[in-house]
């Protein structure tokens, strides 16, 4: 059963901002279909008496108190920026 066609691969790649060569789309579609098929086995299981699982973590309620613990480390943070200007991170134009 084919669930993932070339069009879907293109859409997923777009949303993930990943560039895929046109010639490779078929191959990715085939691989993704294998994965989907494998995962599809879960549909054959009887989960009737299982509680729906909303979260995978066995812990709950991990909080921090409302306290300011961080200082201004602007210069250190800006070292990670490939382009900066006047204390700002700089990116290609996005604001209209």
């Amino acid at each position: 059963m084919t669930v993932v066609d070339v069009k879907t691969v293109r859409k997923i790649a777009d949303m993930a901002a990943v560039f895929i060569e046109e010639k490779d789309l078929e191959a990715y579609a085939a691989q993704l279909n294998t994965i989907m098929e494998h995962m599809g086995k879960i549909m054959d299981l009887d989960t009737g008496d299982q509680e729906p699982m909303e979260h995978i973590l066995p812990v709950k309620n991990v909080f921090r108190d409302d306290e300011v613990t961080n200082k201004n480390i602007k210069d250190e943070l800006l070292k990670n920026a490939s382009v900066k200007e006047d204390g700002y991170f700089k990116v290609p134009t996005v604001v209209e």
């Binding site: 309620n61 409302d66 200007e85 990116v91 290609p92």
Partner: protein, 478 residues
């Protein structure tokens, strides 16, 4: 054709916690760019967020104040999108299980009360701010706002006019201020609304296609944007065309909206449970504790003012819309003992100054105690109406005690009977023409004398005393 307007609001409100939602960075408006950031709120790989407990408390508090049910179990999700204001490429929000749901808020529309459903209130994080580069090339990002805690309040589409949308936003703002979870400074963007609007031919049950207008940050903008959008959709439908489901940007200067470039339908946020944040369980005790901390809300307070103080519904409504003003009213009423006088003065002199100078006057020298003292002087007849206004003006400027101002400016009403009587005699004697008029029956002359005498007493005469003595004085000539 005639249409019913159907509006729902999505209201974003920043919570006034000390620190951000998932890290110990300071939560404050403005500041030098990128000075309130850390690896967590910059979304560096390998960092671990932890929920600020006060954010949870404030969200529940807001929910309870809007009559919501509180979820015993809720969790966070990642909403994925690429935009440089969100460096992680996802926003942490509550997609499937919000903390509050199924509430309502009552609004006053004219003389009617209307109940507006609250679909849900969920917790999420704010994004950074983008600005133009002064070089004309590229965009600059300040992440100080990134990770500031927000609640999003989603209403049911129960609003049927642009005016109702505005009133609901005002009402919710007041509730958030009373519960002290947000400072609601709209000019700083800490309260903003999206308007979802559709039209439905009158009598039809089929809902129309709705559009969304984002980030309206004033009451006026909400009302105008909704009005313009209702008119636009009516024109589209009347000309036989279709309304498209789209996100539009409102231009408040031009008074029109345009579709945004990123079409909503191509957006797929692929929400999934946030693996870095464990789910949240809240129990009855925790909720009850928060419930107990909720102060008397504006609606309840208004009813109490009407019943307890006997002030008009309209006045009570306006006064309770602002918590600080309502606190001033209550304290002043206690001090001066005449709530109706206090309410009248708030509705005139104080409101006038708030309109002219802004709400700041409520946060400087004026308070319920000194305002009450001024009105007590007035109520006892110790100062005149004009003098009371003068004392308010001076107080707002210098912050002196009312009694100090009254003494320093010599504003006390002049009641010295012999002095007043002498002044009256003198005025009557030096105006023979007016006296003749009075004797010949022209009653207008009485007012002329009153004016002259009050001027002579520098406005400090007690009108009823002057009137009494003047009447006796003139009697002698008849």
């Amino acid at each position: 054709m005639n249409y019913d307007i159907v509006i729902g609001l999505e209201i974003h409100s920043e919570l006034k916690t000390s620190s951000k939602i998932f890290c110990g960075c300071k939560n404050e408006f403005g500041g030098e760019p990128n000075t309130r950031c850390c690896p967590v709120c910059l979304g560096m790989p390998g960092t671990l967020p932890a929920l600020n407990k006060r954010v949870l408390e404030y969200a529940i508090k807001a929910g309870l104040a809007m009559n919501c049910r509180i979820a015993g179990f809720s969790k966070f999700d990642r909403k994925n999108y690429f935009y440089p204001d969100m460096p992680k490429a996802y926003q942490v929000t509550q997609h499937s299980l919000p903390i509050c749901y199924d509430g309502y808020v009552d609004i006053d529309v004219g003389y009617e009360t209307k109940r507006i459903g609250i679909e849900r209130i969920h917790i999420e994080e704010d994004a950074g701010k983008l600005i133009h580069s002064s070089t004309g090339q590229g965009s600059l990002i300040d992440y100080n706002r990134s990770g500031v805690p927000l609640i999003e309040i989603v209403t049911k589409p129960d609003l049927n006019s642009p005016e109702e949308a505005k009133i609901l936003l005002e009402t919710i703002k007041t509730i958030l201020e009373y519960t002290e979870v947000s400072d609601c400074k709209m000019q700083e963007g800490s309260l903003r609304a999206d308007v979802n609007l559709s039209l439905r031919p009158i009598g039809s049950n089929t809902p129309g296609v709705r559009t969304e207008m984002k980030n309206l940050n004033s009451f006026r903008a909400v009302q105008r944007a909704a009005q313009a959008e209702a008119e636009r959709q009516a024109r589209v439908l009347d000309s036989g065309q279709k309304v498209y489901k789209e996100t539009r940007r409102w231009d408040d200067h031009k008074g029109e909206s345009l579709p945004m470039r990123d079409k909503e339908e191509v957006m797929d946020y692929r929400c999934f449970p946030e693996p870095d944040l464990p789910p949240v369980y809240v129990d009855e005790d925790f909720i009850n504790e928060i419930q107990a901390s909720i102060p008397e809300l504006p609606g309840m307070r208004r009813e109490r003012y009407i019943n307890q103080y006997g002030i008009p519904k309209y006045d009570a409504g306006l006064i309770t819309q602002n918590k600080v003003l309502a606190d001033i009213f209550e304290k002043a009423s206690e001090v001066c003992g005449n709530p109706k006088l206090v309410s009248n003065w708030i509705m005139t002199e104080i409101m006038k100054r708030m309109n002219e100078e802004g709400e700041g006057i409520l946060h400087s020298y004026l308070n319920g105690d000194n305002f009450g003292q001024i009105l007590l002087f007035l109520d006892k007849g110790d100062i005149t109406h004009a003098a009371a206004i003068q004392v308010i003006d001076v107080l707002l400027e210098t912050g002196e005690e009312p009694i100090v101002i009254v003494e320093r400016l010599n504003l006390r009403v002049q009641r010295d009977e012999s002095l007043v009587a002498n002044t009256i005699k003198q005025v009557v004697n030096s105006n023979p023409q007016a006296l003749d008029d009075y004797i010949s029956g022209k009653k207008k002359a009485f007012g002329f004398f009153m004016g002259k005498i009050m001027a002579e007493l520098k406005g400090r005469g007690d009108p009823s005393q002057v009137k009494e003595i003047l009447t006796k004085e003139l009697q002698r000539y008849l």
